[in-house]
């Protein structure tokens, strides 16, 4: 009954009832029939007049939020505001393609729209407040865990259905026709305190911190009841909400109470963790009413936790991380025409300078009268050369320092502590210079991205303290992971620097087997790949006595070689600074 393809169809129905209240749906899958089927089902469920707009990834802020309509402004002789895409789509659904590449600043605007239901514009001389009650459908096409749509936005979305097995409408418990009826009767559905309690405790048991999750689940329960034509939400509705809304957000595997035999009433002394005493009033008869009500909801959620998540949580040793680095997107082109706007300047526009029309007109405006008296055509706006303004853009040229740390047994445990110290020390520098840091650890059979690129000291500390040591040295896998991450950073417009801390004693091959000769051969190949991509690399030799292998690897990848028999965090940090290119400004 919990067939994912039916759940996906159900998600579309539920969302169609109240897109605004549910925030959005995140479809984490590539283009394909599943996604198309979901969208066409959703559109079939929405009323014909519902607006359905597509949000291009590179949308200019002016177009998103609204601003000055220059053509109309010049015609009318007074500022005419242009409605932004969000305000235009008011009451409808906005589709975000490639949501994993959505800039954080755009995501923040969308979050504000979800939170307040309106768009406040304060730009280009326009100050407006427009209604923007929206639901979103996001296509998240990132192919690994590092490429996901911004978490702040994802938190506000009710659903992230699994579309891998398609969308199946055959087993749907409701008709598409029920959607319109549910929409009309939604306000009459009552959600009892018991259900709110059950949903809240399930949220806790699944380790979900955000308070938006239970709120969205309550809304889904209400919608489910409305779809069924009832005015009272039941535990079944709550279980459905838990399965669809809460389960995908689970961070821990809930502690399930031991299975009870059917006849036995639930012993009150064995509630699951964090569970309040069960409400004894069983007046709301559910089909499984000899089970504590909260448990039904919890079980429904636990059963729907994606298998991948469980595996991830249980994995004591992480599998080798392969990131697809295919040519899906070209390297970010650098030019002075993109990036974040960083002020304006009076200058002539040209191939490398983008005209800022509003500022130019603003500069020209006060002189119009005067210039007309000088005999110019009164019907036209008189713009002179020195009125021209260009926008200056700041390229995101952040440096991301990727640490690939050898945490194997040969790089003994105390060296690991030193390496951690060095990384933390470097974080202090990065904090001042507003750089990012990422940490990859390789040991045993594979490597693990301990810390995705971040500027947050809090997160850095947390993930570093959890770095264990021991096992063999899968140097090839470590170098591969560093290169993959460097590519990702570069695609996002950053400048990667790789720092490898190792003793160079590779003895685990890429496929996780022992064998020094092959391991070294593979590591050498990985090093050559790094050289080919012309990265800035620092290889820190952490062996007690500097060894020729490490030096050879450094040469192969054209890295700076730093023998550091006893890692001194201060010295390491200075060494990294020396390979860092000169900073802007």
């Amino acid at each position: 009954m919990n067939d994912p393809s039916t759940d996906a169809a159900l998600t579309a129905l539920l969302f169609a009832v109240d897109p605004v209240g549910l925030g959005g749906v995140c479809l984490r899958t590539g283009p394909g029939p599943g996604r198309d089927a979901f969208v066409s089902l959703l559109r079939a469920c929405l009323t014909e007049t519902t607006k359905f707009r597509r949000l291009p990834l590179n949308i200019a802020e002016g177009r998103l939020l609204g601003g000055l309509d220059i053509a109309a402004t010049l015609r009318a002789g007074k500022p005419i505001a242009e409605r932004g895409l969000l305000a235009e789509a008011d009451g409808g659904v906005v589709l975000i393609a490639m949501a994993e590449r959505l800039p954080v600043s755009t995501a923040a605007q969308l979050c504000a729209a979800i939170d307040t239901g309106e768009i406040i514009t304060a730009r280009d001389g326009v100050a407006a407040r427009q209604s923007a009650r929206l639901g979103f459908v996001a296509f998240d096409e990132g192919d690994d865990d590092d490429e996901r749509m911004p978490p702040a936005l994802r938190d506000r979305f009710a659903f992230q259905p699994d579309l891998t097995s398609g969308v199946d409408t055959d087993d749907l418990p409701y008709d598409i026709e029920a959607v319109a009826h549910a929409r009309a009767s939604l306000a009459e559905v009552d959600v009892s305190d018991d259900i709110i309690t059950a949903i809240s405790s399930t949220t806790m048991a699944l380790g979900i911190l955000s308070l938006r999750a239970p709120l969205l689940a309550v809304r889904v329960a209400r919608i489910a009841a409305a779809l069924d034509g009832r005015t009272q939400a039941t535990m079944q509705d709550a279980a459905l909400a838990a399965r669809l809304v809460l389960a995908p957000r689970a961070t821990i595997i809930p502690q399930m109470p031991p299975e009870e035999s059917e006849e036995e009433p639930p012993p009150p002394d064995q509630p699951p963790e964090n569970e309040p005493p069960e409400p004894q009033d069983q007046s709301e008869q559910t089909e499984q009413n000899d089970q504590p009500m909260g448990d039904i909801v919890l079980e429904a959620a636990a059963a729907a936790i994606p298998a991948g998540l469980l595996a991830q949580l249980k994995a004591a040793e992480a599998a080798p991380k392969r990131q697809s680095a295919g040519g899906k997107a070209g390297a970010l082109k650098k030019s002075s025409k993109r990036g974040r706007p960083a002020g304006l300047r009076r200058a002539m526009p040209g191939p490398n300078a983008r005209l800022n029309l509003v500022e130019t007109l603003r500069a020209a405006a006060p002189w119009q009268r005067l210039r007309r008296t000088e005999g110019a055509d009164p019907a036209r706006v008189q713009v002179r050369a020195d009125d021209f303004h260009i926008t200056r853009f700041k390229q995101r040229s952040e440096t991301t320092t990727i640490f690939a740390v050898d945490a194997s047994g040969s790089a003994a445990a105390n060296r690991l502590a030193e390496a951690k110290g060095a990384v933390e020390l470097l974080l202090a520098d990065c904090y001042i210079r507003r750089d990012n840091v990422a940490v990859i650890a390789f040991r045993g059979k594979g490597c693990e991205l301990l810390l995705p690129p971040t500027r947050s000291l809090v997160r850095a500390k947390r993930s570093l303290s959890a770095l264990p040591g021991g096992g063999g040295t899968p140097l090839a896998a470590g170098l591969d992971a560093a290169e993959d991450l460097a590519e990702l950073v570069q695609r996002r417009g950053g400048t990667p620097i790789i720092v490898v801390l190792t003793d160079g004693r590779a003895n685990i091959t890429r496929d996780g087997n022992g064998g020094r000769a092959q391991a070294e051969q593979e590591a050498m190949a990985a090093a050559t790949r790094l050289r080919a991509s012309q990265r800035t690399i620092l290889l820190v030799d952490t062996s007690p006595r500097p060894a020729p292998q490490a030096q050879a690897f450094a040469n192969a990848m054209a890295a700076r070689y730093l023998p550091l028999p006893y890692v001194d965090p201060g010295r390491l940090s200075r060494a990294v600074q020396n390979v860092t290119p000169a900073r802007r400004g």
Partner: protein
């Protein structure tokens, strides 16, 4: 959204509510920074503030909401008008101005009035968000994602209390005293230390992990969404009581005594924690006084100081990278040591 969620209906988050009330009683404390997890009611609390605050008296037709009672802080227009007799005034709600993330510089500081320039060829100043926020609150959600050049601007104006506009051939200065309220999630980016220092208080909000509170929050939110009017009516009385206490606190503020012994403790606390400059002591003293005034006390006590030490100090500690997560713990430790002695 229409009507805001009532302030007194916000469950838990006592430190945040206390800090907001303290700056409402004494805006001189400086801004409040609310940092914390997603979905913890940061934005809700600040948007509730506008409905909570008592009204203020402003000069009629003044674009900067000048206070007729404070002649030294009048804007240029009001000063000119004052020469012709007393200024007419009226009561108006306190402005809580949103500074949206995408705001451009011209909207923040103000710029040439395009309409008048285009249609009449006149050079006139159109005030920006800073002018609207004068004597009120300026709220920046996701303050850590704000663009650098806007941050620079805010730092400058927050320090001087005056907005100086030199652009488009305009040369204008006007009062811009506002309480800066910022919120954000530290995992999405750090805040520049210079801006951090401009905030008087810094509050950390965490998602409540206690089930009863969480159920309560979900229930209240659900009730609010189903019937906002009825829900607001339910909390109208609590909001009114709080408003009255803020007003009483403001009236009392000048009469609350700060004993030397408390001042000494504040200074010793700052020395023990190695905070830079004197701003920490001043904030401690002002916040303790505002809290005492709000509670109706005549004298500031150690208890007031202890209550507000963490929000007043935690963002001023010299950054120790290797002991970062523990800035609250460090303040707590220092407070415990001081008061144990």
């Amino acid at each position: 959204m229409g009507v805001a969620f009532p302030f007194s209906a916000i469950a838990g988050q006592d430190e945040m509510k206390r800090a907001i009330v303290a700056v409402a009683v004494d805006p001189g404390i400086g801004g409040v920074l609310v940092f914390g997890d997603r979905g913890t009611g940061k934005s809700t609390a600040i948007r509730a503030l506008a409905a909570l605050l008592p009204e203020i008296r402003v000069v009629d037709e003044c674009r900067y909401h000048c206070d007729p009672a404070l002649e030294v802080r009048l804007c240029a227009d009001c000063t000119t008008r004052l020469a012709n007799g007393p200024l007419p005034s009226h009561m108006t709600p306190v402005a809580v101005v949103d500074l949206p993330l995408g705001a451009s510089e011209d909207r923040v500081v103000g710029a040439l009035d395009l309409e008048r320039a285009l249609s009449r060829g006149e050079k006139a100043f159109e005030p920006g968000l800073l002018a609207r926020a004068n004597r009120g609150f300026l709220y920046v959600d996701e303050v850590n994602l704000l663009e650098d050049h806007i941050v620079d601007l805010l730092i400058d104006v927050a320090a001087s209390g005056e907005n100086v506009v030199e652009r488009d051939g305009l040369s204008i200065r006007h009062p811009a005293r506002f309480v800066l309220v910022g919120s954000g999630n530290p995992e999405e980016g750090e805040l520049r230390p210079q801006l951090l220092d401009r905030f008087g208080l810094s509050v950390e909000v965490k998602t409540p992990t206690d089930l009863a509170t969480r159920i309560d929050i979900v229930k209240r939110r659900d009730a609010y969404e189903r019937d906002p009017e009825a829900f607001i009516a339910r909390f109208a009385e609590a909001d009114a009581t709080l408003r009255a206490a803020i007003l009483a606190g403001r009236a009392k503020l000048g009469h609350v005594e700060v004993p030397d012994a408390v001042l000494e403790k504040a200074s010793r606390l700052c020395i023990a924690l190695g905070t830079d400059g004197l701003r920490a002591e001043l904030t401690l003293m002002r916040t303790a006084r505002a809290t005492a005034a709000f509670e109706g006390a005549d004298v500031v006590t150690d208890a007031h100081l202890r209550q507000i030490a963490a929000p007043a100090l935690r963002h001023r500690l010299r950054r120790n990278v290797l002991d970062d997560a523990g800035s609250t713990a460090r303040v707590d430790r220092a407070v415990a040591e001081l008061f144990a002695a």
